[in-house]
């Protein structure tokens, strides 16, 4: 049996063939151009996870007035206030609170503070517990606000100002502005997924504890976790171990204790579950 194909049909057939072929070639070329970076990375470079971090640039403009101990006391006070002011954890708010806005100068900071907070120098006149007295003052003024804060947006905004003031105090002596880095991005530019990921260390850190004999060991472990839509870790595995069993088990324990994490939004829940997040202990 032979089919006789005339010349016209043959040319149409060839044209279709070339057209389809051309489309394929174009798709491939466009793909290659568009994803060149990723393809190069995939084939020729060792796969590296993307580090998610916030960046700020700190310009030191003077010696710090507060001592390290006073700063630690203030930090504890801030942490306590933040816990009180956020009964239901909203990841976006937590992450955005982390953003420290640029401070034009110290006088701007003083203008924003109530009279009783203005004169930071007066702390120096206190012979004992200068930091503590500051915390007490701040606690009295803002404590009531924090308790009621979650009820309305307006009140919540007031509370966040209180926390920001405290944070600015922590950075006294330093001027903070937006920095530049190829690794980090500003919070405002961060994707929802990154915001969620960035909030995780703050939730895990309270449970991340080591015995003193492991303090000077310079250990490092990395664990990938997969979080379900309920904010629970359904699976984890070590990407790299520290070489010390106690260190590794403490890292896992800190993850377990800090669960459940905040509920992921619809947009990111699939990615959290399929892609996972690598937690670096400490980096």
């Amino acid at each position: 049996m032979f089919h006789v194909v005339d010349a016209t049909n043959l040319s149409i057939f060839k044209a279709k063939k070339y057209f389809v072929g051309s489309v394929f070639v174009h798709i491939i070329v466009i793909n290659l151009l568009f994803f060149q970076k990723k393809i190069n990375h995939f084939f020729w470079e060792e796969s590296q996870p993307k580090q998610v971090s916030e960046i700020i640039k700190v310009d030191v403009v003077g010696l710090p007035k507060l001592t390290l101990k006073e700063l630690e006391q203030l930090k504890r006070a801030i942490d306590n206030k933040e816990e009180e002011s956020s009964p239901d954890v909203n990841v976006q708010n937590v992450a955005q609170d982390e953003v420290t806005e640029s401070i034009k100068d110290v006088s701007e900071l003083e203008e924003e503070l109530p009279d009783s907070e203005k004169n930071v120098d007066s702390l120096e006149n206190d012979t004992e517990g200068a930091g503590l007295s500051l915390i007490e003052k701040l606690s009295k003024q803002s404590g009531a606000k924090f308790k009621k804060g979650a009820k309305s947006k307006r009140k919540a905004k007031k509370n966040s100002i209180g926390v920001k003031k405290l944070k600015k105090l922590l950075l006294e002596g330093n001027q903070i502005s937006k920095g530049s880095s190829i690794k980090g991005r500003y919070q405002g530019e961060l994707a929802q997924f990154d915001q969620y990921v960035l909030a995780l260390p703050n939730l895990i850190r309270p449970f991340w504890k080591l015995p003193t004999f492991l303090r000077d060991g310079a250990f490092q472990a990395r664990i990938i976790i997969y979080i379900n839509s309920e904010g629970r870790v359904i699976h984890y595995r070590f990407v790299s171990k520290s070489g010390n069993e106690e260190f590794d088990s403490r890292a896992v324990k800190s993850i377990n204790k800090s669960q459940p994490f905040p509920l992921p939004s619809e947009e990111i829940k699939d990615r959290l579950l399929s892609e996972g997040v690598i937690l670096g202990f400490p980096l």
Partner: protein, 417 residues
Amino acid sequence: MKIFTFYLITFLLQDKLFAQTSIVAVGDATIEKTKIAFSTSENCNCVEVSNIVRTDLEMYKHKLEVFDNELSEIQKMDYEYILSRNKETQAFELLSRRGEQSSSLTEIDNSTKEARVLGHEVADLIYQNLFQKQSIFKSKIYFISDMGINNKGVKGKQLFAVDWDGTNIKQITNHNGYVFSPTISEDRQYAVYSVISNDSERKNVNLYMMDLKTGEYKVISNFKGINSGAVFVPGGDEIILTLTHSGNAELYKMNIKTKVLFPLTRHFASDVDPSVSPNGETVAFLSTRAGKPMIYTLSTDKTEFNVKRVSFVGEYNASPRFSPNGEEIIFSSWLDNRFDLFRLSSKGMNLVRLTKDHGSNEGASYSPDGEFVIFSSQRILSETQDVKNLYIMTRDGDILKKVSSDLGKAESPSWVK
């Protein structure tokens, strides 16, 4: 068409296929304190030693929690270690609750030593068992004080040594003048210091070296002008010092045996007060290159090599000193009409303030294990009276104790193993 569909699906899944996992840093862990309980009170003949051991260990309260309970109570509680004394052998025993460690501190000969020395030895052994490194309990502090009187009956400032606990004070030098800027070799065998002589004919500030075992001393540098600020380079026969014989204060490396000089700085500004990193490769020093005295670092290989500025603030910075691991520099800086102590990383990051409100604080030096800092603090009593004492604090600025009230006007402390 099938191939086209395949490509389309591939195209849509590209992002999934090449997705990049995100990594976040959890950060440094909180360090839990190690709990240790004493049950030595059952042995009546070791109370004094036990008290010393306990007082010693409490110095490390930032990493150790010390309790004193009867053995029966201790058994019920959640301690990691128990220190007890064997009734038969009289040896101290350190028992671990977790079972993997049990140390009998038997090598201590408690029959011939005074309780203070024995207590420090026991405490040091316990510390080594817990943390696998030496403690400060057998260390010494060298310092300058005005309480010395030389063999001519003339008062001046001399070099002294004292045990870290403030006892066993000894006068080391006996010069007719003012000793300053002392440094002690790692093996505690040599001291190098400068002297401003009372003798009107000898105005030059010379550098001396003393053998601390024999008490013999000699001039090792007497160039015209000032020979001072010497520090030992770890593991060698070299020192780094400041000389002004060229007409400007510059840093030099000197071989103690050959006296050969090698210039480290050559700059129109004054370069003084060197401190050498533990590996001997980097020197931190003060320089007026920026106008005000600021801290710089340089490499010791060549002249003016790898010079980096690490401090950028402060009216007057002074006495930079490396930590034993070389990662930090502690220094004093003039702020609000007094000196206070500050710390930054050797790369110039993480500037923090350590002291405040308690007089003028300067001349800081790290303990050999890097956990503590000793410094001198001047308190003004009246227009004509002041006191100057040595204090010990943790490296984070928690002031723990005054070394002793019997050290005169003590300054320039140097803490050695």
